[in-house]
């Protein structure tokens, strides 16, 4: 290729201009001077060594002359040949423009070497280490509450929560901070190096966000951060007493102050288990206290920390606990839902009179347990059991199914109201609230509940 770039560009522009003119006016009414112009251009191209282009332009010029000469039936054939010649010029032009652009770009951009990036002005990762204490879910975010291992300062590691992520202790959590999938259990009991990550101070605590170009690091050994006890604000170690009442479990300080801590089903089941040994279990907890609520982060146990609200093992009844409950004269069917579905299935499988007796016996047992303060099973399970009982008794359908179980109405009303109220306050989950609604409607207490 010629190295005379401006000259070549000018020649290509000239060819382009003639081609554009032809395209615009059309072959039928081409400028009569165009053929001559093309010949001149071809001579110029040939003189500069662009023989391939010159040949195409000459061919196009001859075809244009032929079209001008022809007046008979061969004129269309001549015009067609001109069209092909015009497209051949367009193809040549496109190819040479691209080649020229490559050459020019190589020369224009190939010179100066890049300036090295300035060294990062960020603190090293090791400049701040934090120990994670617990996790808080809020909509599209997940916040890991942690304490600075040197100062005990409250640090929040905030991550976006991708859709579909389920926070479960033994599942991997896709962490943006660590840029790795890490089991949640590992993360919740980890010490991390987070120096130099994007950070800010908000509401008296440090908030740290994931970095695009740097990952936090898991430390091999957990460092125990210094935490105060029973502080009014921020992170604190706290001794709690759990008490069961008609509205479920509440958590209090040892001074009797009732804390606004939501007790979800997982924690409630854990407390029921603990209450087999002592009616009001005592817990050593790490909490975050704000002006309006307290967040339970973790429970310190003799054999390590626990997070019952995330731990599916608290939802199961170990064999030795079941034996102890039986020994104490308690029933074993205190676990909501799954045992009840099994009972219903067994009743269904029996001949009708035996099935009815079997189911009525268990419903009577459940009634007693609920009167004693045990948890109320979910609305959808009670509704199923109620419908089955009505069917076995031969009662016509239509009545509220849970009403057929004759359970204590006050407890049903409270069990229905609690998840709905939590949801309306913005702290409960929608599924639990929906189940509360079902419980209210299917037990016939909805009108009473909503009037109140």
């Amino acid at each position: 290729m010629s190295t005379d770039h401006p000259g070549l560009a000018a020649r290509l522009d000239a060819v382009s201009s003639v081609a554009a003119s032809l395209q615009s006016t059309g072959l039928a009414l081409a400028d009569p001077d165009l053929a001559g112009e093309l010949r001149e251009l071809a001579a110029d191209l040939a003189a500069s060594g662009l023989v391939s282009g010159a040949e195409r332009l000459v061919a196009l010029s001859e075809r244009l002359n032929a079209v001008a000469r022809e007046t008979g039936p061969d004129r269309r054939g001549a015009a067609r040949a001109t069209y092909d010649a015009m497209q051949a010029v367009a193809t040549w032009l496109r190819t040479w423009r691209a080649a020229l652009a490559l050459e020019v770009a190589r020369e224009r951009l190939g010179g100066a070497p890049p300036v090295p990036l300035p060294p990062p002005a960020r603190a090293p990762l090791e400049s701040r280490t934090v120990s994670v204490l617990g996790v808080e879910e809020s909509g599209s975010r997940v916040r890991f509450h942690a304490a600075d291992t040197n100062t005990g300062e409250h640090v929040v590691l905030e991550e976006p929560r991708p859709p579909g992520v389920v926070l479960a202790l033994d599942r991997p959590f896709p962490s943006q901070l660590l840029q790795a999938d890490v089991p949640l259990r590992t993360l919740l009991d980890a010490t991390l190096s987070v120096g130099g990550l994007p950070a800010g101070r908000k509401r008296g605590r440090v908030e740290i966000h994931p970095s695009f170009s740097r990952a936090a690091q898991l430390r091999k050994r957990r460092l125990v951060p210094p935490l105060g006890r029973a502080a009014q604000r921020g992170l604190a170690n706290m001794d709690l007493v759990a008490r069961s009442g008609p509205d479920g479990w509440t958590l209090e300080t040892t001074d009797g102050e009732v804390l606004d801590i939501a007790v979800d089903q997982g924690l409630a089941l854990d407390l029921v288990k603990r209450s087999a040994d002592e009616p009001a279990p005592r817990l050593s907890a790490v909490v975050v206290r704000t002006s309006d609520a307290t967040l339970l982060l973790r429970l310190e146990e003799a054999d390590g920390p626990s997070w019952p609200w995330l731990d599916p093992t608290t939802h199961r009844w170990p064999a030795e606990l079941e034996a102890r409950l039986v020994r104490h004269g308690e029933a074993t069917e205190t676990v909501p839902d799954s045992p009840w579905l099994e009972i219903a299935a067994r009743a269904e499988a029996m001949p009708a009179p035996e099935g009815l007796a079997f189911l009525e016996a268990h419903v009577a047992l459940l009634r007693t347990q609920i009167e004693k303060g045990d948890p109320v099973p979910s609305g959808h399970v009670l509704s199923s059991v109620g419908r089955m009982l009505a069917r076995l008794r031969g009662e016509p359908p239509g009545a509220p199914p849970i009403a057929a179980l004759e359970l204590p109405v006050g407890r049903l009303r409270l069990a229905a109201a609690a998840p709905i109220a939590r949801f309306l306050a913005g702290s409960g989950d929608a599924r639990a609230a929906a189940d509360g609604l079902l419980l209210a409607v299917a037990s016939g207490v909805a009108g009473d509940l909503f009037e109140r």
């Binding site: 072959l27 423009r97 490559l102 951009l109 070497p113 990036l117 976006p160 994931p210």
Partner: protein
């Protein structure tokens, strides 16, 4: 070797003649005399090409129709050279198609010459980990609006996953597709797919690197790897882009050769509106001082891109650590269409939920106003 062309292609020779003849008549009359009748004829020709399985030609005819519509409407974004380039590609495609049909040596060769009516999506064994590099909104000359996500897969391969709807249904704003679920049964949206990493199961993909977002596709979030995902596309400076573009630029049927690159810009030059040419331009300056030109026509689908570039060029806006985009040669300059900008700390978006992200997809997501941040 004798070969029976698949059904539909028996109409191809006659269709090629019709298309060739129509384009010849257009050249005979000249652009000056193009009008509604010619546009209607081009639309009918596109249908003819469709029924004859001439997929490449169908697209080019639709594109020519769109360009000529701008001429007929006296749209200032009309460029005669664009019409000429498309006409030339049609001429070349007709010749290539005739040659392939006259001496067919295999279905693959015919498909290369004539196009494939529908992409074949083949199942992929096992799971596939993908990580978003960028996402861009588009409005096609063929009347569709969509978003394409560029996803890094194993061994540096870039896969594309697109959602598209007719412009007549949702208007010419691709951002409206950002928060729609990818399918009726999957809660994942294009926004989710375009931010972060995913483990996909029951994957179906085409030979040209397209992922099917079908209803059986399962997606589980995975941990993103930050800057590491761009390593294969990182170019030190603009000169390296020229080498990447290479010979592809010289293939007349290859279209405008382009490469996906990731640059670390030193600065962005102010956005300039050229009202005469109906174009908006800006410049990305690399660390060697080389300038990459950003130039887009003034059209509704580019509004968000222009707004974001103006914000990034402004002294008060956050400055990106990198820009992922498509680069090509433009008359001796390197043209660059920035797709996404990356930031070390998450930047908040002006959108519902005010999500904060490391990757700002420039044509479909707006940076939050300063006062919102």
């Amino acid at each position: 070797m004798a070969l029976d062309p698949p059904a539909g292609w028996e109409r191809a020779p006659a269709a090629l003649d019709r298309i060739d003849d129509a384009l010849f008549r257009l050249a005979e009359e000249g652009l000056e005399r193009a009008g509604e009748a010619r546009l209607a004829e081009l639309a009918a020709l596109a249908q003819t090409a469709h029924h004859a399985r001439l997929v490449h030609l169908e697209r080019e005819l639709q594109a020519l129709g769109t360009v000529l519509r701008r001429y007929v409407d006296r749209d200032p974004t009309f460029r005669p050279a664009e019409a000429g380039a498309i006409s030339n590609r049609i001429w070349l495609l007709v010749a290539k198609g005739r040659e392939a049909l006259a001496r067919p040596s295999g279905v693959g060769e015919l498909q290369d010459a004539l196009g494939v009516l529908r992409r074949r999506y083949e199942p992929v064994a096992g799971t596939l980990r993908v990580e978003a590099l960028g996402a861009s909104g588009w409005v096609s000359d063929t009347g569709f609006v969509g978003i394409t996500a560029y996803l890094a897969a194993a061994e540096g391969e870039v896969l594309q996953a697109s959602v598209a709807r007719p412009v007549t249904l949702i208007g010419p704003n691709p951002a409206r597709l950002l928060y729609q679920p990818l399918s009726e049964v999957m809660p994942v949206t294009m926004f989710d797919l375009a931010h972060g990493a995913w483990m996909l199961d029951d994957v179906r993909r085409s030979a040209d690197g397209r992922l099917s977002l079908h209803s059986q596709l399962a997606a589980a979030p995975a941990a993103p790897t930050g800057a590491a995902r761009y390593a294969r596309h990182l170019v030190d400076h603009a000169a390296a882009i020229v080498e990447r573009l290479g010979e592809g630029e010289l293939d007349p049927l290859g279209g405008r050769a382009s490469a996906l690159v990731y640059l670390q810009p030193a600065r962005l030059q102010a956005v300039v509106h050229n009202e005469v040419r109906a174009r908006v331009s800006a410049e990305v300056v690399d660390r060697a001082g080389a300038v990459l030109r950003v130039e887009v026509p003034v059209r509704p689908e580019h509004d968000i891109l222009v707004e974001n570039l103006a914000r990034l060029a402004g002294a008060r806006g956050p400055f990106p650590v990198g820009m992922f985009g498509r680069a090509w040669l433009a008359g001796g300059d390197v043209g660059f269409l920035p797709i996404s900008a990356t930031f070390d700390a998450p930047v908040p978006l002006r959108a519902r939920g005010r999500a904060a992200v490391h990757e700002l997809h420039l044509s479909i997501e707006r940076l939050a106003e300063d006062k919102e941040r």
